[in-house]
């Protein structure tokens, strides 16, 4: 499983795409390589519910306030739907 922590929705989408369907920018070693890995963002409920709440708050809390989480979740879910994990 890949857990992303980036804050920009477009970047999250690109990274998610890279580890599922393959590098959409064709600039790295995963260009044309479809890994089909399950991918989540660290702020998604599937991940945060498994984390110790105080550690999560300490490490991610402020970053989550700064992030456009609705957009991030929308982007990463769309990638998962387009390329389901193998």
């Amino acid at each position: 499983m890949v857990i992303l922590g980036a804050s920009e929705p477009a970047y999250v989408e690109m990274m998610a795409e890279t580890v599922t369907a393959g590098d959409p920018t064709y600039t790295g070693p995963l260009a044309g390589v479809s890994l089909g890995l399950p991918v989540y963002h660290v702020t998604e409920v599937e991940v945060r519910e498994r984390a110790d709440a105080s550690v999560y708050q300490d490490q991610i809390g402020l970053s989550e306030v700064a992030m456009e989480t609705d957009e991030i979740w929308k982007s990463i879910r769309a990638v998962r739907e387009r390329t389901p994990a193998e």
């Binding site: 980036a6 804050s7 920009e8 477009a10 970047y11 690109m14 990274m15 920018t25 064709y26 600039t27 300490d58 490490q59 991610i60 809390g61 402020l62 970053s63 306030v65 700064a66 992030m67």
Partner: protein, 476 residues
């Protein structure tokens, strides 16, 4: 410390050397060309002309011709919408062409390492003489042939943007892996561009070079030899090239936040009374030319990382302008601060402001890592300043100093668009001094916080990052 005794920033020069021919010797292009030599044609086909580099909006902001906020209104992509009123000279600095830079490289070389064709040097001499920063005596060496005292083995060929060979760079001491031609070129490019910034600063301030007492280098190059790779003091080499006969210097190394460390140290040297005139200088980073080029090539964009950027900043005692460097509230990320993003911003922003009893929104402008997003976004590296502004805004929200609803507007209200080439340490906050200083002096800005972070972990000595911040304000 009494408030009137606080040191101030007396001036800043920001210079660019447009070096499209040298782009192929950036780290990324070098590695890609080693895999596929045919890529050179794609690279050369995507290089910008000097006129395009001058007209490029972010470059005009860098030399002070426009405020950073002006870029909000320039349509994107900025590279398609050049500034019609652009100039090579701005209130903060200038942009020099590669034709002039060949001469600067030759002038920076004391060991016969760089050999440039005589007709190229003649053209450089003409351009540099017209630029007015260098005297006839300083330019005289451009008429003399290179001494060719160094080893010719492994020499590297210098090319103009169109691929024409214009000269060569020799290795240093034979067999010394710290002085191969590519490393020496990197170091000489840093020295030449840093010395240009220093010259520009002295000219701007109409200052006698002999008044400079100490120079702190804050670049990232490893200047040395096999026994002390990274031995340093490129600062003194730059001081010599700029004619600062009474100066010595040393280098401050802390990855991208070295410039803020250096600024604070400069302030401390002045505050302590050891020196009156201390210059912080950062030369350009050849290694970072073309760093994001694969992203740019894949999007049919010009290769925007075609300029070496350098800055020089004079720190001195209070000068009657009322602008103060607040050494009583320096922000630093300590070993014990913790590595989360929240901990870093707490250390660099909240703690120093708490010392002064200020809220985050009391700072008019935050200068963060001011990387030009048009360079980084297409390569998947995100909008660096925007990410910083959102974190500072989130900190303000978490401290109850700002409503969550105002978070999106923080970037425009207290930040600025990135306008600095991705030259590592150079985008680290300080180029905003060119815009902040006049505004602090005229009272249209009261406070600006300069915040920089450094990726120490890249050196594989620690997993830690680093960071420093310093506030400049106007004494009421």
């Amino acid at each position: 410390m009494t408030s009137t005794a606080m040191p101030t920033v007396r001036g800043i020069a920001c210079v660019l050397a447009h070096t499209p021919g040298l782009l192929q010797y950036g780290s990324k292009p070098t590695r890609e060309l080693a895999k596929d030599g045919a890529l050179i044609a794609n690279i050369r086909g995507r290089l910008r002309s000097f006129d395009d580099a001058v007209a490029y909006g972010p470059n005009q902001v860098f030399i002070g011709r426009h405020a950073p906020e002006w870029l909000w209104d320039v349509p994107e992509p900025w590279w398609r919408h050049g500034d019609e009123g652009a100039s090579e000279r701005g209130p903060a600095g200038r942009i020099v062409s590669e034709d002039a830079f060949w001469g600067l490289l030759r002038m920076a070389d004391e060991f016969g390492i760089v050999d440039v064709a005589a007709e190229r040097l003649a053209r450089s001499r003409e351009l540099l003489a017209a630029g007015g920063l260098f005297s006839d005596a300083e330019l005289a060496r451009l008429s003399a042939p290179a001494e060719k005292t160094s080893s010719a083995d492994g020499a590297l060929t210098l090319h103009a943007a169109d691929g024409t060979a214009v000269g060569r760079v020799a290795n240093g001491y034979a067999g010394d892996t710290s002085q191969t031609a590519d490393i020496l070129l990197e170091n000489l490019a840093c020295k030449a561009s840093g010395a240009l910034a220093l010259k520009e600063l002295l000219a701007q301030l109409r200052m006698d070079p002999a008044e400079v007492e100490y120079v702190l280098g804050c670049g990232e190059e490893a200047v040395g030899d096999r026994y002390q790779r990274g031995g340093g003091a490129i600062s003194k080499a730059m001081a010599e090239m700029a004619g600062c006969t009474e100066a010595t210097g040393s280098d401050v190394k802390a990855f991208c936040c070295a410039p803020v460390h250096a600024l604070v140290l400069a302030g401390a040297l002045v505050e302590s009374g050891i020196y009156r005139n201390v210059v912080v200088v950062g030369g350009g980073s050849l290694a970072k030319l073309g760093m994001k080029m694969l992203g740019h090539l894949s999007k049919d964009m010009p290769l925007l990382e075609d300029c070496l950027a350098a800055v020089a900043i004079l720190v001195g005692p209070a000068d009657g302008t009322g602008v103060r460097m607040r050494l009583d509230a320096v922000g630093k990320h300590t070993v014990g601060s913790g590595g989360s993003a929240g901990a870093i911003y707490e250390a660099l922003v909240a703690r120093p402001l708490d010392k002064l009893g200020l809220r985050i929104v009391d700072v008019d402008r935050y200068a963060v890592e001011l990387h030009n997003p048009e360079i980084t976004v297409p390569a998947g590296s995100g909008n660096v300043p925007r990410t910083n502004y959102r974190m500072i805004a989130a900190l303000a929200v978490s401290r109850g100093e700002m409503k969550r609803a105002d978070l999106d507007g923080f970037e425009r209200a207290h930040g600025m668009p990135g306008f600095v080439p991705t030259q590592g340490h150079i985008p680290a906050a300080l180029p905003y001094l060119a815009h902040a200083l006049p505004r602090l002096r005229d009272g249209s800005l009261r406070r600006a916080l300069f915040v920089a972070k450094g990726s120490l972990f890249l050196g594989k000595m620690t997993n830690m990052a680093d960071g420093m911040s310093v506030l400049l304000d106007r004494e009421d």
